[in-house]
Amino acid sequence: MIDFLLYALLAGLGVAAVAGPLGCFVVWRRMAYFGDTLAHSALLGVALGVLLNIDLGIAVTAVCLLMALGLVALEQQGVLALDTLLGILSHSALAAGLVVISLLSDIRVDLMSLLFGDLLSVTTADLWVIYTGAGVAIVLLATLWKSLISITVEPELAEVEGINVARVRTALMLITALVIAIAMKIVGVLLITALLIIPAATARRISATPESMAVIASLTAMVSVISGLAASWYIDTPAGPSIVISATLLFCLSLSFKQNG
C-alpha cells in the first residue's frame, strides 16, 4: 500500500478510537456546541502559531486548552447562559483567527485544509502527536470513567457521594480540547463535532450500557474512517468530508434497528 494512504488510515483510526467514548459524553451532556467553540478557536491557534513561529500543533492545543479553561471559569460566573457564552467565544475566536491569518501576508496558510482537514498529508511526526494525544485522552477517560458517568447522570448526587464535580468536569473539558486539537488534522475545524457526535448517536441505537455505547461508537467511527478514505481513494473525494458522510450513512442505517434500552 502507498505510504501516505497508510499514514492517513492510521491517523484516522487513532482519532476515531478516542472520538467514540468522548463523543458519547458530548452527546450525553449536550456539549456539541462546546466542541464547535473549541474547534473554531483552533483556527486562532494556527494563526498565533504562525505569528509566533511555534509548532502549529502545540499552538492549536494550547489555545484549545486555554479556551476550555476560560469556558469553565465563565460558566461558573453564571452571568450569561452557556449557549450565549459559547456563541460569543466561538465566533470571536474564529473571527480573530481569520483576521490574524489575513495579516500574515507573506505566509500562505492553507485555509481549506484547516477547515476541512488534510488527512492525506499526515507525516510520521503527525502520527506520533495523534497517538500520544489520543492515548493520553483514552487513559484519562478510562481512569475517570465512573466519576464522569456519575456527574453526567446527576451532579449534585455525585457531589454528595464524594466526587469533586468541578474537577472532573474541568478534566472532561480539557480532554475534549485535547482531542479536538489532534482531530483537526483529520476532518478539519468545521467537521470535528460531526466525528464526535455522529458515531455516538449511531451507537446509541444498539447499546444497553454506557460502556457498550462507547465501544460501538469507536468502532463506528473507525469504519467511517476506513470507508471515507476508500471513497476518497477510488472516487477522488476530499477525505475529511467523505469520512463524515460515511458516518452519516452508518447513522441512517442504525435507524432501522430498534432502540435498545
Binding site: W28, T152, V153, L157, A158, E159, E161, A200, S207, S212
Partner: protein
Amino acid sequence: MNKPLIRLQSVSKTYSDKPILQNISMEINKGEITTIIGPNGAGKSSLIRIILGLITPDQGTIEKSANLTVGYMPQKVNIDPTLPISTCRFLQLANTSHQECHKALDLVGIPEVKDTPFHKLSGGEMQRALLARSILRKPNLLVLDEPVQGVDFSGQNELYGLIGELRSSLNCGIVMVSHDLHLVMSATDHVICLNHHICCQGKPEQVTQDPAYLDIFGETALYNHQHNHQHSLQGKVLDADGNHQHGEGCQHD
C-alpha cells in the same frame, strides 16, 4: 442525649441581594424525622443544599458530627435518554456491589425494574429508585427533597411508611421537604415551617395549631393567610400596613 448529627446556627443565605434564608437555627438528631414545609420559593431547597454542603451560607455556622454519612434523594433526576443506563447500574454509581443494589431495590419494593432503563421508570418507580440509591452508602443522615413528588395518593402513603421504616432499620436521622403537612403528619417527629425564616417549629400537632402555620397553610386550604404577620410576594414579613413586624411565631430578629 447524643450530639446532633448536624446543627445549623443562625444560618443566612442571600442570592443577588434577595435574602433566601434568614437566621435559621436547627438541628437534626439520630432516629428523628424532621420535615421542612413551606410555600414555593420559601428557601426549602436552599436549606437542603446547605445541609448537604452543596452551597455555603453567607453567615452562621454548621456543625456536623464526626462520622456523618449523608444519603441524598434529589427531587428529580433528568438523565438524557441518549445515556443507556439500567436502574441497577444507576444505583451502582453509589459505589456498591450488584447484590447490594438488588437488596436496596427489594427493600423499596421494586425488584422487577433492576434491568429497566432508568429513564423509562414511572414516576413512582423513579422516586423509589432514588430512595434506594440514597440508602446504599449506609447513611446516618438521609436528606429527602420532596420524596413523594409525582406519586399518586396511595403511593405517597406507602412511601412515607417506607421512610418511617428506614428510620428505624438504618437508625438514621431524616430530613425531608414536603409541600403538604397533612400527609406527613404521622411520619414525622419534628416540623419546621419555613418561609425564608423559621415561622414556627415543633411537633406536628403543635405546629398545626400554631398561628404562623395556619397563616401560611390554613386549616384546610393552603396559603390561607390569617396570622400575626403577612408575607409580601417576596416572602418578607409585613404587618397590616405592609411594614415589617415581628410576631410570636416569628423567630428572626
